[in-house]
């Protein structure tokens, strides 16, 4: 869709978007292609959910009970995870995370789900912002069996979920920590190295591969560094996140 548009999108961004999207319904590290496709479709559907809308308007989302409006392809705990991450991530608490895991999502599955939901939400946001229709999801997911193997060196922290710290990284993470800053946010998906490898190449092109750079010499962007940071800060504030 980006290819056929009259808009001129940077080649590196177009390529990263195309690559990320082509992998949405592929077999993952912990989830099947069909599960991944169901999560992607549900991430889009979450915006229409009346329960999520009521929770978003409430002083606390945890006081509003009910059932999500869903597409019928995911268990309840997975639905809650997808819908909450999409529609009200800023008020997620450690108790919610613990309850979600206890309700039937393995932490590794949760990280893969989270990566997938953010890729779909990010891609949809970009397409909506530039005025193009959303990218099309395939009708079926790839057939195959997820290997479901946790990488060596995974430990809980620095947040609620396990991650692999740079000093503990084994061959599963390849050169992940050599190709970008070892900030905590970059560690967040390392429990599932394949997802860290899927999400960050897209994020690097949407924003910057090295957010620590103060100015943009040598980086092709049509905004100033300050303008980029203003947009970033305003968008994060909109999501109630001040990370």
């Amino acid at each position: 869709m980006v290819d056929t548009s009259p808009l001129v999108v940077r080649d590196d961004l177009k390529s990263a978007l195309t690559q990320a999207w082509s992998e949405v319904a592929q077999t993952g590290a912990w989830l099947s292609g069909e599960q991944r496709l169901a999560i992607a479709n549900e991430a889009r559907n979450a915006w229409q959910c009346k329960l999520c809308q009521r929770r978003k308007e409430a002083l606390s989302p945890y006081t509003i009970k009910g059932d999500h409006e869903h597409l019928g392809a995911l268990p309840d705990a997975w639905l809650e995870a997808v819908h909450r991450i999409v529609t009200d991530s800023g008020r997620i608490t450690e108790s919610w995370y613990d309850a979600t895991i206890a309700a039937g999502i393995i932490e590794d599955e949760f990280i893969e789900l989270l990566s997938l939901v953010t890729i779909v939400t990010g891609a949809d946001t970009f397409m909506r912002a530039i005025g193009l229709p959303p990218l099309v999801l395939p009708a079926t997911g790839e057939q195959g069996t997820a290997p479901r193997r946790r990488p060596g060196g995974a430990k809980t922290g620095p947040g609620w979920a396990p991650t692999v710290a740079p000093e503990d990284a084994g061959p599963e993470l390849g050169d992940f920590y050599e190709t970008g800053p070892a900030a905590y946010i970059r560690r967040a998906l390392t429990l599932v190295p394949g997802e860290a490898g899927r999400f960050w190449p897209l994020a690097n092109q949407l924003y910057l591969s090295n957010p620590l750079r103060v100015e943009l010499e040598g980086v092709e962007r049509a905004l100033t560094r300050a303008q980029m940071e203003f947009i970033a800060t305003r968008t994060s504030a909109y999501l109630d996140c001040f990370y």
Partner: protein, 121 residues
Amino acid sequence: MRLSLSGEHTGDEYALEDAIGKGSGDSGLPQGELLNDFVEAVCAGDGARTATVRQKIIEEMGEAAMIDAAAVIAAFNCYPRIADATGIPLEEAKAAATAAMRAELGLDELDSRKKPGETWS
């Protein structure tokens, strides 16, 4: 808070309270108000407003700037969700470096990043 660091680097002064929503201006940034309108329209899912602001950005800043602005909005629809869903804290060094700014902006009063016993984790 790289907006502040960028300002220090260039010698410009930007209003951080505007950027996090406490103010209503454009933070003193060139085209700040226009970019703010774009963020709000896109994040609100307001198609008509998005189309109007998109066209204004193309006219005033060029198509490439509109696309890069859209890309940053998309990126920051991802990072917060990942940080929020995994409880990823702010690094201690960053917390120390931005302590004064966080106090000024009241960010420590927000609980999304807090853990027991910590003011900002």
